[in-house]
């Protein structure tokens, strides 16, 4: 295992320390926990937003804590949902009197741990709502099973719900817009190489030298097919087609695009993928409002990417474009008068 770590069991604690040391003006750690919150949390009179999950998806979720996005992020062990007591600490630390929204990715573990924390918080008198992100179209959406996974599309929920919360909206309003994003966002990923949980020491699975996995989850959960290595354009086409099939966009619709790297894939390749994704959308007459390319929801050092489309209306557009100052998503307060818009 080739990793820059000390003790495999200490990676989460040490990473969080490193984050706070790097960005003390954005985040602070709730003492004795794996919770990072805004430096000035709780913000009075504002709905608090808490997300989190297993670690290994950096910059998710602590990288999105800050003005205009999350108030707190709870880090579990690598690929392991955080425990209810930690989530509860986050809820308490960000509660500014208007209640707290939990943004949960749809995994059994996350659901149960966040739910239990929410129950405990409500017992302490803090109003809590939760939304469940399930954007991964690689998984069949079924009432009888676990349903779809939450992957990179989660970031759009953070951004848009965060922007509305920042404006002073009520818990119900923030919950409503978060659910609206969840309705409109779809993703699909693929992987070229596996990844290794530090404490496990060996890769969680293997992919043949000439193979790739289409539909791979962000914890190495298997996808929908194992195919021969294909050109970037074919991969982009497969991912976009799966997403579009599910979203049924029509010509004239407006979207935001997220080309998300899983950790080991360089930016060069993500832009090559974006080139094709943009062309495919243009072919269908779909308008691209904005494109995000980079690492937002990773899977340790896995090589691969995911493509996320968010269908926009005026409300979502405005909130997506709203300012944010976090570690991994920075957006100016106001569009500068100069030569750039973003």
């Amino acid at each position: 295992m080739k990793k820059l770590v000390n003790h495999p069991e200490a990676v989460v604690r040490e990473m969080l320390e490193g984050m706070v040391l790097a960005h003390p003006h954005i985040v602070k750690q709730v003492e004795g926990t794996t919770v990072l919150v805004r430096t000035h949390a709780p913000i009075q009179g504002k709905v608090g937003l808490v997300s989190g999950g297993g670690s290994g998806h950096e910059p998710s979720h602590a990288g999105f804590v800050g003005t205009g996005m999350l108030d707190g992020a709870v880090a579990g062990e690598v690929f392991t949902s955080p425990t209810p007591d930690q989530v509860l600490e986050a809820i308490k630390a960000v509660n500014g009197g208007k209640g707290v929204l939990l943004i949960i990715k749809n995994y059994s573990g996350d659901l149960m741990n966040f739910e239990m924390a929410g129950e405990l918080a409500e017992a302490e008198g803090i109003p809590v709502r939760k939304v469940i992100v399930n954007d991964d179209v690689a998984v069949e959406d079924s009432l009888y099973t676990t349903g779809r996974r939450g992957i990179a599309g989660t970031i759009f929920v953070h951004k848009i719900a965060g922007a509305l919360a920042e404006s002073g909206a009520s818990l119900e309003e923030v919950e409503r817009v978060a659910n609206k994003v969840i309705q409109q966002v779809r993703s699909m990923g693929m992987a070229l190489t596996p990844c290794t949980i530090p404490a496990a020491g060996t890769p969680g699975f293997s992919i043949g030298e000439n193979e790739m996995e289409i539909g791979m989850g962000i914890h190495g959960e298997p996808g929908i097919e194992r195919i021969a290595i294909a050109p970037a354009d074919d991969v982009a086409t497969t991912l976009v087609n799966h997403v579009l099939e599910d979203m049924k966009l029509t010509s004239g619709d407006r979207v935001a695009v997220l080309i998300n790297g899983l950790g080991g894939t360089p930016l060069m390749e993500l832009y090559i993928v974006n080139r094709k994704v943009a062309a495919l959308l243009q072919d269908q007459g779909i308008q691209i409002h904005d494109t995000y390319v980079g690492e937002y929801m990773t899977s340790l050092e896995m090589a691969g990417c995911s493509v996320t489309l968010l269908k926009l209306d005026d409300e979502l557009t405005e909130l997506l474009d709203a300012p944010a100052q976090t570690i991994a998503w920075k957006k100016e307060r106001r569009n500068p008068s100069g030569d750039t818009r973003e």
């Binding site: 007591d85 573990g109 676990t146 496990a200 969680g204 190495g220």
Partner: protein, 210 residues
């Protein structure tokens, strides 16, 4: 022959040893159809349980089980943390105030655990989850409370665990695999089997389970 609070302690120490021994195996099982952390999670959780039990003197099985559940809940995480945590905390309520429990108490406690797991995880028997070991074990203990054979119980637990191999997962991370989950043991059922095995070994004072 009652189950003394010290038996319960021994049971959990033994469970911890098993989880440490099988950490890599459980992780490998989870790598096949999950995310490859189940052994790490169980080993971390029961290690903490052992530490807690070592430094605390108990006369009440209820509070021992309650502490166990709380430690698991706050140290395991993932899907197994809240489920094992809930199971122990529910079982604790049945055993509240008891220094020695009967096999009937054990049956009731296991049933409460099962109810808790179902409520929390919304799985049914046959969904290829830990429930596929918990529920038959709970049922067997209740049905045979009068004359419980620990080695028979152990066999039943192992058999139930082995049966998950042929099931298609409907809940948990393996459910994403659909039909491809068939042919693999469910990691949580295997760890649950180790828990039950440790119980039977502890109680079956005549020796190892057959």
């Amino acid at each position: 022959m009652g189950i003394h609070v010290n038996d319960v302690k021994q049971w959990l120490f033994k469970t911890n040893s098993r989880m440490q021994e099988e950490k890599a195996y459980l992780t490998a099982l989870d790598q096949a159809i999950g995310d490859g952390d189940h052994g790490i999670n169980m080993a971390r959780g029961f290690q903490e349980v052992a530490i807690k039990l070592e430094k605390t003197a108990y006369t009440d099985i209820g509070s021992l089980l309650q502490d166990t559940g709380m430690v698991l809940l706050s140290k395991v995480g993932g899907a197994s943390g809240p489920l094992f945590g809930t199971a122990f905390m529910k079982a604790a309520m049945v055993c509240k105030g008891k220094t020695e429990a009967t096999t009937a108490d054990l049956g009731a406690a296991l049933q409460e655990a099962v109810n808790g797991i179902k409520l929390r995880g919304k799985a049914e028997v046959g969904s290829k989850t830990m429930l596929d070991v918990w529920e038959p074990v709970a049922q067997y203990v209740q049905e045979h409370a009068e004359q419980l054979s620990w080695s028979a119980l152990n066999d039943l637990a192992r058999l139930s665990m082995e049966k998950t191999k042929e099931m298609e997962a409907k809940k948990g991370r393996a459910a994403y695999l659909g039909p491809r989950s068939v042919g693999h043991l469910d990691p949580g059922s295997v760890s649950t089997y180790y828990l039950m095995e440790a119980l039977c070994t502890t109680m079956n004072r005549s020796g190892e389970p057959a």
